[in-house]
């Protein structure tokens, strides 16, 4: 995408990658962001041709299945046990996944 069309121009090397990394829940160091950014720019340059096409009246292709989507009957079926599903969890307590505390206050 050309700078003229870019609603958020890059002001600082690494700033764009750092802000996207935050959205993507990736911890990227400033150094990594600076090294990724040129690669990012060269990849986006490959995409510039998309801007030149006249897409007036063209519908987006959202699904290849379209009307073929087949839904099963909405009936309960046996499923895996809690133990099976929790077997890969890095940390569990009883039948729950365990994560760091997200709300304030004491227990």
């Amino acid at each position: 995408m050309s700078a003229a069309h870019d609603p958020k121009p890059i002001r600082q090397a690494g700033a764009l990658v750092a802000s996207i990394a935050k959205l993507a829940r990736l911890a990227v160091t400033a150094e990594e962001a600076r090294s990724i950014e040129p690669q990012f720019a060269s990849i986006l340059k490959q995409f510039e041709g998309l801007e030149l096409l006249d897409l007036t009246g063209v519908e987006p292709l959202v699904s290849l299945s379209g009307a073929d989507t087949v839904l099963r009957a909405d009936e309960p079926e046996p499923s895996s046990s809690a133990d099976q599903m929790l077997a890969n969890a890095p940390e569990r307590v009883e039948d729950f996944y365990c994560v760091p505390k997200t709300v304030g206050g004491d227990e």
Binding site: L26, Q46, L53, V70, N88, A89, P90, V99
Partner: protein, 492 residues
């Protein structure tokens, strides 16, 4: 009794079902091959001899009338497939130790037919790559030249078949990840129509593009495996609602073969072009009619693919955050800190790059400009194929613009690596069936390297593609060629 690696899956199953050999003997032969070759070619991420032997014993004890069409045939599976008893780590550190609590529908159907999974194969991390150099466990090597890539991302599965370890293997093809490694290792690969095979149990990368796809050393094997895997599945709503695939008889006389000028452009390596043109000449000799066609939006396919695939990947890979499975890194002790630290430590550089790219094209302010626009161009790409198929029955061209490239030669240039997929991604974007079959060799520094021919069909015309592939295979001897140094049994 023929040597284990001399037979294709159909032949091996027939001999085993008739009692000429046992499933247990097949498993021992497969593991002998693993022992002889795996350390040099880096094919498997994990194997399970114990479960394979147990399954073989059950099959050997089964009455003759219950023996299926893959009776006692060892199979290798890509490490992004869920199979009970195996570690499905997607060649990523973030999924180290992950054992799926269920088995994928397509694997279950093959096991029901008598196949025996022996191990999970090496791949580009989360199927993102074209050379296996994005595997957290080092790349698989090409049996034709171990200094070169076996292609990707389903690299280990291609090598398992090309090196004679198993007659058949499964990969997943999101942008060419089965056809390109099949071409680069001299075997057959087939991507069915999107929805032909259930994706239940395939760890998702690009959900609108992913399709489970078989490798084999014969067309009849990929035909059989596809047939057995296909059909509706109540666990995948995108699965086609039609009977399992059955191949039609194909007469090449009068068959209209479309040749898109865009697939023979400047980026095509000279010798690959020559082999492709020789294949077209052979089709003509066999009675087919060559029809020039045009796919005018092909030049935009790579851009559309890398917008759509990365957008879907950024969403699909959000589930790897250290809560439900795989590795966890505590970070600063907060929940958000744990997510970020886990993903930072667990994902490799290319996966991070694609997550970032996908997040970017979906983010506020950029969504319409990138993702929305790419989806519209995807419509144009599909229309190109629909228009072309009005004047031809199949489209034929090269699978990869070049033979196997040297490991390391593109590793630090993501754009050059992405362009490896230029001839295969349009097929995934349009959801079409396509096969890659061996069509000859090129000489590179004194080594013969295989070249693949791509045969593309209209939506749902999987059987037609395979029939044309089989006719080509029968008229040539390329599929019978074996890697001289690394085919099991080739070395004394």
């Amino acid at each position: 009794m023929s040597a284990y690696s001399a037979l294709d899956a159909v032949g091996l199953a027939q001999e085993t079902a008739r009692g000429k050999r046992s499933a247990s003997e097949n498993i021992e032969a497969a593991f002998d091959a693993v022992k002889a070759l795996d350390s040099e070619l880096n094919v498997f991420l994990n194997t399970n001899l114990e479960s394979a032997r147990a399954l073989a014993r059950v099959l050997d004890a089964a009455p003759a009338e219950t023996r299926g069409p893959l009776h006692g045939v060892p199979i290798a599976l890509k490490a992004n497939m869920c199979v009970e008893g195996f570690e499905s780590n997607c060649a990523s550190r973030i999924l180290a130790g992950y054992h799926a609590p269920y088995t994928a529908t397509f694997v279950r159907r093959l096991v029901d037919a008598g196949a025996i999974p022996i191990g999970m194969t090496n791949m580009d991390e989360f199927a993102m790559g074209s050379s296996c150099e994005n595997s957290a466990f080092g790349p698989s090597k090409n049996p034709w030249d171990e200094t070169r890539t076996a292609g990707g991302s389903s690299s280990g599965s291609a090598v398992a078949v090309a090196a004679g370890i198993t007659p058949i293997a499964l990969g997943s093809d999101t942008g060419g990840s089965v056809r390109q490694p099949a071409a680069l290792t001299g075997i057959v690969g087939f991507k069915p129509t999107y929805g032909r095979v259930s994706r239940y149990g395939l760890i998702a990368f690009g959900s609108s593009l992913d399709q489970v796809s078989p490798f084999a050393r014969s067309v009849r094997d990929v035909e059989l495996v596809t047939h057995l895997m296909s059909g509706t599945d109540s666990n995948d709503a995108t699965c086609l609602d039609e009977p399992r695939m059955n191949c039609e008889i194909c007469d090449l006389k009068g068959l209209r073969i479309g040749v898109p000028k865009e697939y023979f452009g400047g980026g095509l390596q000279h010798d690959v072009r020559a082999r492709s043109e020789e294949a077209l000449a052979l089709f003509e000799q066999l009675g087919a009619v060559i029809v020039p066609v045009s796919l005018p939006h092909s030049e935009h396919a790579i851009a559309v693919y890398y917008v759509v695939a990365t957008a879907e990947a950024s969403s699909n890979l959000a589930r790897f955050e250290g809560v439900r499975f795989g590795r966890r890194v505590d970070g600063d002790g907060s929940l958000q800190g744990m997510f970020a630290a886990t993903r930072e430590a667990g994902f490799g550089p290319e996966v991070k790059r694609r997550i970032l790219l996908g997040t970017y094209v979906l983010s506020a302010g950029y969504y319409d400009a990138w993702y929305g626009r790419a989806l519209k161009v995807r419509t144009l790409l599909r229309r190109d194929f629909e228009a072309a198929f009005e004047s031809c029955d199949v489209i034929v061209g090269p699978t990869s613009p070049e033979p196997a490239f040297a490991l390391g030669s593109k590793k630090d240039d993501p754009v050059a690596m992405y362009l490896s997929d230029v001839l295969t991604v349009p097929v995934n974007l349009a959801g079409l069936p396509a096969a890659s079959v061996p069509c000859g060799f090129v000489d590179v520094l004194g080594r013969a390297l295989p070249v693949g021919l791509q045969i593309i069909g209209p939506h749902r015309a999987d059987a037609r593609v395979l029939s044309v592939a089989r006719a080509f295979e029968e008229a040539t001897s390329f599929a019978a060629a074996r890697a001289p140094r690394f085919f099991h049994g080739a070395r004394s």
